[in-house]
Amino acid sequence: MITRRSLLEAAGTGAMLVGAGHTLSRTFVSQAEAQAAALNLPSQLPEGTRREAVLDALPGKKPLIKLSYRPPNYETPIEFLRTAITPNDAFFVRYHLLDIPEVKAETWRLSIGGDGANGEGSLSLNELKQLPAVEVAAVCQCSGNRRGLFEPHVPGVEWGYGAMGCARWKGARLKDVLDRVGLKNEALEIVVAGTDKGSVDKTPQFIKSIPVWKAIEDTTLVAYEMNGAPLPHWNGFPARIVVPGWTATYWMKHVSRINVVTKPFDGFWVKAAYRIPVGKFPVVARFASQETAVNTPITEMVVNSLMTSHANGATVKAGGKVTVGGVAWDAGYGIHTVDISTDGGNTWTAATLGEDLGRFAFRTFSYGVMPTKGNYKIMARATNKIGQSQASALIANPAGYHHNVVQTLNLVAA
């Protein structure tokens, strides 16, 4: 069990706590309120989320926005999302289940088999690293990022903007790993399982499947490095699946077992969860073996952007140049433009795009404004290379996925 480090020392409240006994809880509550106010949480979040969210540091991580302690769900504050690459220690953390073993690199093995494979095999971490190494800069975004902004609200982890990040993922191609055993012609889906599990036996273990066509793409990896370092425990040490372009639900952390199957996998997390209504979203990639008449597994991310240069409502200096900006991303078609409007969406002007780290990565953008005194509403809208743009109105869906509504940043020039 990893021990946790609390922010209490940093907050300077340690002296109050020692020996405080029954007054402890009140100290915590007032501290939580103060922290929430300082977090600039989106005003659209549920009231209870805004009250309960605090900055807290998991071992090895910077203070992130804690939505739930266990399973740990921590989002990245937007100030860490101003660059194309997100630091490992600020990268968001998302788990479904309580029991998260600390995996030892020396004893970890990845086993491969299933009725769609030609045999059984397994790899140690060193053996995995001996396969040809590939590095891909790619956005890892929770399907439910921005769920908390849905109106009406839907239950779940009430994420704001920061259940995402972009890293350079290095590992072996999943197809090279699968080649250790070989796929039968009838292979339909690649089932991936990690080591985390629920505290109750009946809780469905978090297991996902990926259609074979996507699993064997050159960019789909079994990654063991993130930004040049071993994966942090909270991001899947020692190895995780990386599926660039697709939402993070497929990026199995602590992956330990790969099953090649010839029939559609019927586990809860694929058959019932992580589904979107058929035909509502402009997605190209399909998971055909799992589609029903009404819904289908979420697959690729929708085109999106986020202004991260300023907190919403920030005060800027009137009369000088103010540069607003942030990051844009999509499913890997590539960002074509990010357009900015300062007049409520009537007219749009292209922002300057930053360095291109590859079609799956965050693309930074910036735009200079010269505000006179007053209130400003700045909007950013990304368009990708296949002509898809961010939504102007929310596309409702039961689980709160794919929120890519154009964001409005309020600034006060004074």
Partner: protein
């Protein structure tokens, strides 16, 4: 200093939350009302109690019933029908719409 704080927190956690609470974790304070003991005894076995205020106050009575059904039938939470009724009433009264 750190070890002292963790020790104090551990002591606080054992009383305020459940035995499953980890050292260093701030206790989640839910509203004190009838049924809170059943919430603490059952819900915290699988997740910290911050999940409840996080999902408030937008769920209707039917919405909280759905969540209870989901926890029991989908995630296998071993909650007795009697406790489920008490927990549901607590959630609707204190964290409902």
């Amino acid at each position: 200093m750190r070890s002292i704080i963790i020790a104090v927190l551990s002591a606080a956690c054992c009383g305020a939350v459940t035995v499953a609470a980890a050292a260093g974790e701030k206790p989640v304070q839910l509203k004190k009302a009838p049924g809170l003991d059943k919430v603490e005894a059952n819900c915290a076995a699988c997740h910290t109690l911050d999940y409840i205020p996080m999902n408030s106050p937008f769920l209707s009575a039917a919405g909280w019933d759905n969540e209870m059904t989901r926890m029991i039938n989908v995630f296998g939470a071993p909650i007795s029908p009697g406790d489920a009724k008490i927990i549901g009433d607590y959630l609707k009264a204190n964290y409902g719409q």
